[in-house]
Amino acid sequence: MVSTIFLTATALPEVIWIGVIIKAVLILAVIAAIAGFGTYIERKILAFMQRRLGPQHVGPFGLLQLAADGIKLFTKEDIIPQHANKFIFSIAPVITAATAFIALAAVPVFPDFTIPFTDILVPSIASDINVGILFVLGMMAAGLYGPLLAGMSQGNKWGIIGSARTAIQFLSYEVVTGLSVLAPIMMVGSLSFVDFNDYQTDGLWLVVYQPIAFVLFLIAGFAETNRTPFDLLEHEAEIISGYVTEYSGMRWGLFFIGEYANMITIGVIASIVFLGGYNDFLFIPGWIMIIGKIAFSFFFMLWVRAAWPHVRPDQLMWLCWKVLMPLAVINVLITGLVIMI
């Protein structure tokens, strides 16, 4: 997909290559680090919510727990089960992680900025394709092949159940995600994130116009990122670890990074599409606003995990097809009607 970046970069002549590369590196490095750091945050927050201390002993406040985990993951023995399909088993985690990062290519995280003392303009987005939102959703959909192939290739019944659940859960919620963002897209009239951001520069946040779409998107987002209460495909109490049952070491870590990157992506999309993007808010600069919004949505996901139990697969499907999808369709209809009038 590298070529995509090149191609779109050529379409934006004022941005020089180096800026795009910086942005790409930033995304890769920062998001990967944040994804790792996310595990620490998650443990801490879940602990606090259960009145525990959480990681405590590696580094100050346990901050270096991440490093310890990293070392552990990298040095662990890489086990490939005897009856697994070795090739597929090996590439499955890579699919998850890679698609998560590729999706981020089309996501604007910061406002454009110039590196001080140089003319290098770092664009807000690595690749501002005009169908950005669809591209991100598409990439996240492609990312589902990770769990799917992982579960199928490992020769383990829990894996198979995990991948079966992947197939139904993602296929179903893909529909809800798409329909829920369709209404804002209709209002903005563009698929580009930058346009979404710009649309909200002067007006109110889109969440005010589209509260139902926002809630639907959040719910679908939980399902897409495989988070509690929809973490059916690796739910320990039922299916050991689902599709990651046989994974160990860094292969397992890649799934983890992919999951956290996806959480960030969902947070970014929610922030830009519904919560005003990286626009300045009163006196607060835009970049702080966007970080705050992403952080909140990340925190919200953890909060929900601490508070709510997860649902059964049949409840999940019932909710998707019988509640959320009709709601989304009605929402789209009403939005269309309002726009027409």
Binding site: V131, G138, L148, I160
Partner: protein
């Protein structure tokens, strides 16, 4: 330059992937190759600047192939060791030959491509999505609506097929109880017959 390299990369990988899809007996390989092939095809759309179509290709086919995986999961044992052996070398020969021919066509494509005129050239300032929308709702309105109708029919048919016995519960319905009763009756009959004998 980059387009050329990208085009050849996509082209070759697409061809090879689909060949694997056709030739492999391992359902996992076939399906995975099919899915990746679909992703590769979307690359062509991006190359041509048809971002929207590219993304649609991604979303639609990725989803569709995932449904196929569902069937694969149900019908095949993915973990079984499968020997990749072909009983019909003629077929391999034929497909190999066709592929070689295809490569020739692919390599000559840029030459031919020079002479191809776009039917609906990209209009500056008009988004990809709009362009597709405009074409769909003007020139191809009737086929589009017919296709939509067909999908609706298919959907309803699917619902009916799947939902035929939706209100029939194996655990609680009286019908099931009756079935059990029937079995009991049968058992009783058999015993009575035995007794008589």
């Amino acid at each position: 330059m980059y387009e050329t390299i990208a085009f050849y990369t996509f082209a070759i990988s697409t061809t090879i992937l689909f060949l694997i899809t056709v030739m492999s007996k391992n359902v996992l390989y076939a399906m995975t190759a099919l899915a990746s092939g679909m992703v590769m095809i979307s690359g062509f759309f991006f190359l041509l600047g048809a971002d929207f179509l590219g993304v649609v290709q991604l979303i639609v086919y990725v989803g569709a192939v995932m449904a196929l995986y569902g069937f694969a999961m149900m019908f095949f044992d993915a973990t079984r060791d499968i020997k990749e052996k072909h009983q019909n070398p003629a077929l391999v020969f034929l497909l190999g030959g066709l592929m070689a021919l295809m490569f020739v066509v692919i390599f000559s494509a840029p030459i031919i491509g020079d002479n191809v005129q776009a039917l609906y050239p990209i209009v500056e300032g008009v988004g990809n999505a709009q362009a597709v929308g405009m074409v769909l709702f003007t020139k191809y309105l009737v086929p589009f609506e017919v296709a939509a109708l067909m999908l609706l029919v298919a959907m309803i048919a699917g619902i009916i097929l799947a939902g035929k016995k939706m209100d029939y519960s194996l655990t609680t319905s009286e019908a099931a109880d009756e079935e059990i009763n029937v079995e009991e009756k049968l058992q009783a009959d058999i015993e009575r017959e035995k007794g008589e004998a």
